[in-house]
């Protein structure tokens, strides 16, 4: 019975961290396995989001409310610092996503595809024809 309690505590009590790990692995898998550049960016986003969730659950205080000062000394509120940090990280993530998608657009303009294997093929046939470099 004690074993069961321990196990259920591990699974249910820490469920937020299990979700974080699952999302993290999913995101990384998408980045590695998908040949489509836009899907890669999506995978990267899933990966980053898992870290956001990790920080947010880290700052949570049991029974605490949103970290807004009400003047009530008995009020318990969550640790605001991880939230603020992750706000910065989200902004950075959005900038990275925008840049990645912009690059995907430019790649599509010059290669006509956003599939990684087709891009590689195009590069290889370029090299065979001696193209690529300006000279």
């Amino acid at each position: 019975m004690a074993d069961f309690d321990h196990l259920s505590g591990l699974v249910l009590g820490l469920y937020n961290y299990w979700i974080v790990i699952a999302l993290m692995m999913t995101g990384l898998y998408i980045v590695m396995a998908c040949g489509n550049l836009v899907k890669k960016i999506v995978g990267l986003n899933v990966f980053q989001t898992s870290v956001f969730l990790f920080y947010i659950s880290m700052g949570k205080v049991e029974g605490g409310t949103a970290p807004i000062l009400t003047g009530d000394p008995a009020e318990v509120f969550s640790n605001p610092l991880p939230h603020v940090l992750i706000l910065t990280a989200i902004v950075v993530g959005v900038a990275g996503t925008a840049l990645g998608l912009a690059l995907a657009v430019r790649i599509r303009e010059s290669y006509g595809t956003i599939e990684e294997d087709e891009i590689n093929e195009a590069d290889i046939s370029d090299a065979r024809l001696g193209k690529g470099s300006r000279a």
Partner: protein
């Protein structure tokens, strides 16, 4: 009179902040400039000012010890602290000096390789990247470091993609780097989360103080692993270097020279800061990781990347692989620092020397690209006599990369071999010499092509590169020789910094 000196005193006190804020604020201003040469001239002025600031900081730190600057007047550990010690100030000087030397080269080279309509934005990104690199080095706050890493990285992706005017593969190289770089930075963020959960602080000095009390916790090891791999990706530490060769090969020449001599150095700085200041050797597992993970990986980098460099036909790719190999020496020095101070001294020396020699080498290659539009070994056949100064710079940089006595590369390798012998690891000293012989091979291949192959019959009339492209390379090549013969001042700074870092670690 008194007010002006009072103002000057006030400014001196603000130097740590100004170091980062000046280029950071200059970046958006630069984007508004529409007059032809103005963005470049403005960037040069800002970089010169930043260089003077970093010089003043180094002198001040050498004279008066560590500076702690409180951003916005908030006391650490609550506010963000900028902490400048000898190590910091040294790396700040490397970054700003190299940026200042490369910029005069950038003017003509960028005019050739980047469309004129985007020059203002190009230099905006350049300044943002520069500010980010300086920020990583100056800050004493671990989360602030992440933010600056991302600022410099985002700008770097754009700068690399700007090479698409020459070769569209620059776009895919940049995209690849974006994926790898973002994963690296996010891994660092995860590790930082663990550290924050354990200690409740993000201030580096505070972290170093509180970590020993929780060192039995397995989460420390997890945090260490995430942070090391994250920063290792940024630093292109073998085997996490796969993004580097393409990114360096297809970026505009000036960007390659700038990044090769600063960006990986800054990532290595962050890694050293984490290894020595924050974790320190008090945490027992770190000793094992340095000996059983870093040491073999460093040796693998020295050999496999050198061999890869020998096999390259493109000079830029060759030098990029050589960078990975040279980073191996720096990492080797880190793992040897457990037993002797000269290991870390060698790492710091090589950090400086490699910035000089790889900067010089890439500037020479950039000058060749300016004239030829290609840097293939086949394309440079017989060019040695047509462009004697350019190849002179390349040869000096190449000799330094090999580690010939009288060049800067020799000094750091000397200390590295000394550290290996002191640690009782004779075979490693021999391996260092052997891997230097591999460097001889890839440098020789270039020299052979340039001087000993006949010029093709139908070759275009190629003249020596213009002076503004030559001069920065000559300055760096001269520095390679000066610091090879008169190494004492740099060795002294490196030793002071290494001593302080090891003092913190033990």
């Amino acid at each position: 009179m008194s007010t002006s000196s009072g103002l000057a005193m006030g400014l001196v006190a603000q130097l740590p902040a100004l170091q980062v804020v000046v280029p950071l604020l200059a970046a958006p201003v630069c984007s508004l400039m529409r007059v032809r040469h103005l963005p470049w001239a403005f960037t040069l002025a800002v970089t010169a000012a930043t260089f003077l600031i970093s010089l003043a900081l180094l002198l001040e730190v050498l004279a008066g010890g560590t500076i702690s600057y409180h951003m916005g007047g908030w006391q650490p550990p609550f506010g963000i602290e900028y902490r400048i010690d000898v190590f910091n100030a040294f790396v700040l000087l490397i970054v700003s000096a190299l940026a200042l030397v490369v910029l005069p080269f950038a003017k003509r080279s960028v005019e050739r390789e980047v469309p004129a309509s985007t020059h203002a934005l190009f230099y905006t990104m350049w300044l943002a990247c520069f500010a980010g690199l300086l920020g990583v080095v100056a800050t004493g706050d671990a989360f602030n470091l992440f933010v600056f890493i991302e600022i410099s990285s985002l700008a770097t992706y754009v700068l690399i993609a700007k090479g698409s005017g020459n070769d569209r593969r620059a776009l895919t190289a940049s995209f690849h780097y974006l994926i790898m770089g973002t994963i690296g930075a996010t891994l660092y963020l995860i590790g930082l989360g663990f550290l924050y959960m354990l200690t409740g602080t993000l201030n580096m000095a505070d972290l170093a103080e509180r970590l020993p009390s929780v060192e039995d916790n397995r989460a420390v090891i997890v945090a260490f692993a995430f942070i090391t791999i994250g920063l290792g990706l940024k630093a292109a530490m073998f085997p996490l270097h796969t993004w580097l060769p393409n990114a360096y090969a297809y970026a505009p020449s000036a960007v390659t020279a700038f990044l090769a001599s600063t960006a990986t150095k800054v990532a290595v700085y962050a890694l050293i800061r984490m290894l020595f200041t924050i974790f320190g050797f008090d945490v027992g597992f770190e000793v094992e990781i340095l000996t059983y993970v870093f040491l073999p990986l460093a040796l693998a980098a020295m050999f496999s990347a050198s061999i890869a460099a020998i096999l390259q036909e493109d000079m830029k790719r060759m030098l990029a692989y050589s960078s990975v190999a040279q980073l191996g020496y720096i990492v080797l020095g880190l793992s040897l620092s457990l037993t002797s101070e000269s290991g870390l001294t060698a790492s710091l020396l090589h950090l400086f020397n490699h910035a000089l020699m790889k900067g010089a080498a890439f500037l020479a290659v950039g000058a060749i690209f300016y004239r030829l539009g290609t840097v293939n070994l086949a394309g440079i056949a017989g060019l040695g006599r047509r462009m004697p100064w350019t190849f002179g710079v390349f040869i000096v940089a190449g000799l330094a990369l090999i580690g010939v006595p009288g060049t800067a590369g020799f000094v750091s390798k000397w200390y590295l071999v000394g550290a290996a012998i002191q640690a009782g690891l004779w075979p490693i000293a021999a391996l260092i010499v052997m891997s230097s012989l591999l460097a001889v091979l890839y440098i020789w291949r270039t020299i052979e092509a340039a001087f000993f192959r006949p010029l093709p019959e139908d070759a275009d009339e190629v003249r020596e590169a213009p002076l503004s492209l030559l001069l920065p390379g000559i300055v760096l090549a001269a520095a390679c020789i000066v610091f090879g013969i008169h190494a004492a001042p740099i060795v002294e700074v490196a030793q002071t910094a290494a001593g302080a870092l090891l003092g913190q670690a033990q």
